[in-house]
Symmetry: none
Subunit: 211 residues, 4 copies
């Protein structure tokens, strides 16, 4: 009995995952507004109505995707902050997480970047807060290193956090829409390093530096 119930619960959870995965795929392919519930159901290989058995509505599906994945980012920053004392390492961990995720599951990253970040203007309170927390968290980390004299203290750490994620995001977008292609020499690792190093050191050659 117990076992049966557990099994059923597990099967149920699996079905939900199936729908979620289908949704991620379809959102990435056609965009949230352009896709229909039936696209999701078809892709998941389930009946139309079943989607509504698991989710209140289309928006709720997107919310679930957001919560599951944005939460991960939250944790990654926390872990990075704890596990290393080097700022460079911390930033690299964040970049690595996102770029690796993009390798493994580009659809999810795309939905996060395009469908959620894009609609951030229209986010309501609880979601907006969750969204913002990631930036605040990185800003905290930066602030800490400012106070240790490693970073220019005159600058707003929040703005720096936005700057950092902005670079990352648009580069990702470039990859996603294929207007930006990794050069022949660029390994994923070299891109990770470049992103972090450029953020920390800038792109000028030391030769050309005056100030």
């Amino acid at each position: 009995m117990e076992k049966t119930k557990k099994k059923r619960r597990a099967a149920t959870e699996e079905k939900k995952r199936l729908i979620l995965n289908a949704a991620v795929h379809v959102f990435a392919e056609k965009g949230f507004h352009r896709c229909r519930i039936s696209d999701i159901a078809t892709r998941a290989g389930v009946a139309y109505g079943l989607v509504y058995h698991y989710f209140d509505n289309k928006e709720a599906i997107l919310n679930t995707i957001f919560e599951e994945n944005w939460g991960l980012l939250d944790k990654v920053i926390d872990n990075a902050a704890e596990q290393s004392s080097e700022l460079r390492e911390k930033l690299r961990a964040v970049v690595a997480f996102i770029l690796d995720a993009h390798q493994l599951a580009p659809d999810i990253i795309q939905v996060m970047v395009i469908e959620i970040a894009r609609s951030s203007k229209f986010l309501k309170k609880p979601k907006l807060d969750a969204y913002e927390r990631v930036f605040s968290r990185l800003a905290e980390v930066l602030a800490q290193h400012q106070s240790q004299g490693e970073l220019d203290s005159t600058q707003d750490p929040k703005l720096l956090a936005y700057s950092f994620f902005g670079s990352l995001e648009l580069i990702l977008t470039g990859y996603l829409i294929h207007t930006l292609q990794p050069g022949t020499g660029d390994t994923l690792e070299s891109i990770k390093s470049a992103l972090v190093d450029n953020f920390l050191n800038g792109i000028r050659t030391s030769a050309s530096r005056t100030s």
Copy 2:
């Protein structure tokens, strides 16, 4: 007769502008997908059938907004490339244009950033090309300075261009959605400088530099 025709043409152009302005406002307020043609017409103070005299459909309105404004950015980069030999000046001109525009007409910038740049995934050929040209143009400028030894030549200039615009875009987004507020000390000018300087020099203090 001639005059009358001109007048009429001018009046027509004015009406078109009226609708375009209304569209910008409404797109910014509710988002492209969430707003209706009638919202635009109401805001413009015209009958909604009239919108179809001036534009083929809803998409065409967004296209017009895109073309008019993205074209400006194109020109700004060209001008900047010509009018100064200093890379810093060139970049500053671009940043200044965008941030000033955001001061003067935040709705336009919002629509460009949120409704167009973010949905670039779904752009079709001609629009996508126009979109991409801006990045290529900036990349060219950067490549030129690489060849002059001012910038690290090992890096992909296109990627650097994406990085630069990405920072700018997300900071703008932060301002637009009010999760990022200009600090009390931050003048618009100081933000412009910081963006360019950080891109060129990074954010590390010289004291903490080892390499």
Copy 3:
């Protein structure tokens, strides 16, 4: 110009009427819950969407029917109260109005009796008040005749009003569902008289009266 606008306004009003009439017919035929918007549109000979041009939703159509017709009943009672001093005459005017209306437009009466009275349990404030006003108004009239000694003053006039309308309503229902048929001798006029007389005098023969 003026004329053209007026004409258009009139044509519009006519179209609305067309839809309203179709709705009355369809509501009467299949019942409010069982009919679809498309039934109304088809019956009216207009496009599906036009119904929504004139009415917010299905409920709003029923509301309009209610308001237009229930308001008439209101006025009829008022007029009857003013134009005659005889209670019998007043009641007869009310009965006559309803039964005549039923002859002329049985569908409307049916919708009023079945769809609105039935859902009276679920009426919200403003509609419920309008609904109730008719009963209150008749109760006032009865109360006045009580105070003149014509009617038994020990009884609740409101309850008497409900009793009166209840008789009328169920008889109408009987006719509507054809479980009650006017007998061969019964003219409409005789039924009107019977209803009023029975209400005032009861149905007992004087011979059998003891009290």
Copy 4:
């Protein structure tokens, strides 16, 4: 074995009753069309699939409620006709049954009056016959007393039956929707008497009678 079967049968019957009671409650609360099977199941504390073990469909539940209760009314009229020779007593028994039932189980009465009696227009053959039988039965009783000279023989007894039940029904409706409240002096008994007496004697004072 026998016993076990009986027990099981009893348990089954009990479950069915549970669902039926829940249905009555929910139909009364939200209306037949506005409630879902799951509302009934939830209220009954069972899985909603179980509802389909006991009933073919939603309609069948309503039918069962109708049959169980309308059948009682049938019997009440029969009993009244047999047990007393006085018409007043017979009518009083019917009124008493209904009003007492309304005291004890207002939900059932409401469902009978609002969901069934009011939608009688849409009843199909077998149900319609059952519905109608009650009126016919009362009409028979009245006809009998007409032939004994107690009641005005010129009137259609069926119409009188409708008139009588109509009064009763709308007064009940008034109580159900709380637009009619029992006055402070009105006991339930006085209302029963009034209904019957008014039907038999009318509401005019003898002083004002001319005919």
